[in-house]
């Protein structure tokens, strides 16, 4: 109770609520009592703080009221959400972030496109070329898988499944054939069949995957060497629009096709190949492309699946190179290439009649 009275006195003293006599007594007491003095000082500070707290609190309350009053009166309003939609507000809020993000995206895009342009040309052409080849060889595979090769002769043991095949043609009467490398890839055994349906064992003696060419040799006692080949291998290049024809085995019997040379380069400007306009199907790969004089100007190897009438043939000069390489590698092979055609002035029917005996179907038994 004493403390209470004391504090009340202090408060009254500080608020100047004491009369003169009281005040005089209190001040004397304060001088003689340091504890009381301390209390007065402390409480004085506290009351000041309290007053300020009160003032600010009242002022804040006033501001709060004013805000509401003015808002009701319409003197102040929120920035109109209609005129500044959520998007706009988000935009104003995050535009710096957006700007930073956009510049990063921009720089990244530039860098990427720069890298792409720097790296693209060579890489992508090869990629596409390879891809096309794979597609075309796959096509042939599938086709031949579905094909029932029912004319199994004594040479092919019953139960051996022919996985896929293509065409080939003699380049040397002793039994050397040229075909496409992709036709005989992964082959465990290769058989060739002539136009009469006779099968012969053959061996792959050379493959050049880059040129997509392979050299086969018939190693079979039943094979009779051909004295002279009717056609020759053309050494020089062929002119645009030159009429051409081909023979191959897209099915079980030999098929003739006719067209013209449509471009001097192959897929994506590949100069090893040329483009011809002809009907070609899976199984035609490895077949010869001949001009009207009966000269082999190329080896049919692929067609573009994404466009109509785009067939590609490896140029005949590559045969010469492949054979030269083979000779260098293995001197046991004495291949003599024919460069002159002996059917130059014959009718096409006669030409084909003499050529067809030199065109062989390739049957491939695949590696397990």
């Amino acid at each position: 109770m004493d403390q209470l009275l004391l504090l009340e006195s202090v408060e009254r003293y500080l608020r100047n609520e004491m009369n003169a006599e009281e005040k005089k007594n209190f001040e004397e007491l304060r001088k003689s009592n340091p504890e009381l003095d301390q209390l007065v000082v402390e409480h004085h500070f506290f009351l000041e703080e309290m007053d300020r707290y009160g003032e600010i609190k009242r002022f804040k309350a006033n501001l709060y009221d004013t805000h509401h009053t003015l808002k009701e009166k319409g003197d102040i309003k929120d920035i109109d959400p209609a005129s500044q939609g959520k998007l706009v507000r988000l935009w104003t809020k995050y535009r710096r972030v957006v700007a930073v993000a956009a510049s990063i995206a921009g720089i990244t895009a530039l860098v990427i496109s720069g890298i792409v342009t720097a790296v693209t040309p060579k890489a992508s052409i090869q990629d596409i070329e390879k891809l096309r080849r794979i597609v075309s060889s796959l096509e042939q595979k599938t086709n031949h898988q579905g094909k029932e090769l029912n004319d199994v002769k004594k040479k092919i043991e019953p139960g051996t499944s022919i996985k896929f095949g293509g065409s080939s043609f003699l380049v040397d009467g002793k039994g050397y054939l040229i075909t496409s490398a992709h036709v005989v890839q992964n082959a465990a055994q290769v058989f060739v069949q002539n136009v009469k349906g006779q099968d012969f064992r053959a061996e792959i003696v050379y493959t050049d995957a880059l040129r997509d060419l392979a050299v086969l040799q018939i190693k079979d006692a039943d094979f009779k060497a051909v004295q002279t080949l009717p056609y020759g291998i053309r050494k020089s290049s062929t002119e645009l629009a030159e009429p051409i024809f081909t023979l191959g085995y897209p099915k079980d019997e030999i098929v003739y096709g006719e067209g013209y040379l449509s471009a001097k380069s192959g897929l994506q400007g590949d100069t090893m190949a040329c483009q011809i306009s002809i009907t070609a199907n899976p199984g035609n790969s490895g077949g010869p492309v001949l001009n009207k004089n009966g000269e082999v100007i190329g080896i049919l190897n692929a067609r573009q699946t994404t466009a109509e009438g785009f067939v590609f043939a490896i140029k005949s000069q590559n045969i010469l190179r492949v054979v030269d390489e083979l000779k260098k590698k293995d001197t046991a092979h004495h291949i003599r290439l024919h460069t002159s055609s002996s059917i130059k002035n014959l009718e096409r029917v006669q030409q084909v009649k003499s050529i067809e005996n030199c065109i062989y179907m390739v049957k491939v038994v695949e590696n397990k």
Binding site: R52, I56, F59, N62, L63, T66, I79, T92, K93
Partner: protein
């Protein structure tokens, strides 16, 4: 730049917590600050808080006898608000604070330093008030903030007489002082 008589009147009114003066100042300046805040990564609530805090700074200064405003109220409020908002942005580290300038500004750093100290003490008192709980808080506020006398307080809070109310007030005050000074000494 000397401020007109009208502005001086407004300042006096503000210092006395006069409703009309506050309303006038409020209505004249709010939209400026509002646009400033909203256009610089703030929202409506930020605008209101910053504007009201600026007014408190002005209020605190207007109450001090040695204060004289040597620019327009508008410029002063804008300068304070701008400074406060920059601080808040920097504190939040949202951006290297860079805000557009709508108006000219006057240096207010000194005033803000005083204000910061005051608002810290205000915060301590408010915190202590919050901690003592009811009915102590309302009772003490009735006496010290709203300056009611003990009889009014006794009848309002349902005490049988003023002495009982005094007794209660004393207990509450002791607790408040204890809390306040504990916090105050910590803070300093």
């Amino acid at each position: 730049m000397s401020t007109s008589a009208k502005e001086q009147d407004l300042l006096k009114g503000l210092a006395n917590n006069d409703k009309t003066a506050i309303e006038t100042i409020y209505a004249d300046n709010y939209s400026l600050i509002q646009h400033f805040i909203v256009n610089n990564n703030g929202n409506e609530d930020d605008a209101r808080d910053i504007f009201q805090e600026s007014l408190i700074v002005l209020y605190e200064n207007a109450r001090s006898p040695e204060f004289s405003l040597n620019c327009q109220i508008r410029t002063y409020i804008y300068s304070v608000a701008r400074r406060l908002w920059l601080k808040k942005l920097q504190y939040a580290r949202r951006f290297e604070a860079q805000v557009e300038n709508l108006e000219e500004t006057v240096p207010v750093e000194e005033d803000l330093g005083i204000h910061e100290k005051m608002s810290r003490q205000y915060g301590i008192m408010r915190g202590a008030m919050g901690k003592i709980g009811e009915p102590c808080k309302s009772l003490l506020e009735a006496f010290y903030v709203h300056h009611k006398n003990m009889n009014e307080i006794a009848s309002f809070f349902g005490y049988t007489n003023a002495d009982n109310a005094k007794n209660q007030k004393y207990k509450c005050l002791m607790r408040l002082k204890k809390l306040f000074f504990a916090q105050y000494k910590n803070g300093n």
